[in-house]
Symmetry: C2
Subunit: 195 residues, 2 copies
DNA sequence: GTCTATAAAAGGATAGAC
DNA sequence: GTCTATCCTTTTATAGAC
């Protein structure tokens, strides 16, 4: 029988991150209490403070981890091929990665205003770094003549918004597979920056 | 000298809506207290309840007003021209209207989860109605041969996300005018659904 | 229509026992 | 590492005076 007090399962730390992530995504940072997180983890509220100095640090850690994993995962992608191949790779990578981390993506966008100014700057820098990866592809494509866009910065923002939007409507149970969706978005993205 | 108590300015109602809108957009619904709203309006918290039965109704009213004004403003736009002219009109209208109401747009997207289930359904129905307007244009364009898209529903979601994203980065003080931006987005949208 | 006062609940965070 | 107990603040909403 499970112990109901003084438990030392050794996985409380990860469980706190997991439940905080889920609850922040579901109800919003400001609407989630430390007591609620503790209840989902299966401990009392005071125990949370063995793992985080405060609620803000919990939020910031989740967002920083996500943005770092995003940029690292992209850095591990192949870099061969011309601008068109790279853009297709970016579109498919972005849609797959963001679909696999719906809660993290949601929080990283919705909870920016609940970060302290210092933490906000760190997250924003990571975000800009990722956006610059896409703009670099577009710039290379303009230079090579593969793409035709009047402003690579705006085109990058437009494409990022478009493909991130998949998360707002796509469901596994729908009539299309994620790969189908990737292909449709890649087709629209490609056409929007060519000819 | 202004009265500091028992004031009857006659504009408290509109001011409550105005300050609630601003604060909800700035800090988030859950993070804004009735006391804070009252302080910005210049009354005590209890006075707010002469104008709204509770905080939830205040949020819902702001979101419903926005969605209704959006759909009504689109309904007043001209309907002449072919699918391409209509799509250009939609893109430019959407960008202009959403830029003019940044706070309302932000709340209508960010605070959906803070609506009661009944209120959520009402707002979602209004949103779907607006999205269907765009999809109708795409369907007409496919039927006429002006557009080539494999799935009008997905194309509509992709285009809406793209053009709504303008609000996340555009600033009046930047190097481009809003009309410049409209033109760039219309160009990308047009190409993404043609040839 | 607004104020003051207050009820009743919930919040973040800490102290000390085990 | 976790619990219980608690401090102190803040919250939404209401009651009744003016």
């Amino acid at each position: 029988m499970a112990r109901t007090s003084g438990s030392h399962s050794g996985i409380t730390g990860p469980k706190i991150l997991q439940e905080a992530l889920r609850l922040f995504a579901q109800d919003g940072y400001a609407a989630v209490s430390m007591r609620k997180i503790a209840a989902e983890v299966g401990v009392q509220a005071g125990a949370l403070y063995n793992y985080t100095p405060d609620k803000q640090t919990l939020l910031f850690g989740l967002m920083r981890n996500h943005m770092q994993q995003l940029t690292e995962a992209w850095a591990e992608q192949p870099t061969d091929g011309g601008p068109k191949a790279q853009l297709e790779r970016f579109v498919r990578f972005h849609i797959r990665f963001h679909h696999a981390r719906r809660d993290e993506v949601f929080i990283a966008y919705m909870e920016l205003r609940n970060l302290t100014p210092e933490n906000f700057e760190i997250i924003e820098a990571l975000r800009r770094g990722y956006e610059n990866e896409l703009e670099s592809i577009l710039k290379a494509g303009v230079a090579s003549g593969d793409f035709s866009v009047p402003d690579t910065k705006i085109a990058a923002m437009a494409l990022i918004a478009m493909i991130t939007g998949v998360n707002t409507w796509f469901r596994e149970t729908g009539r299309l597979s994620l790969e189908d969706v990737e292909t449709i978005y890649w087709d629209m993205a490609r056409k929007s920056v060519t000819g």
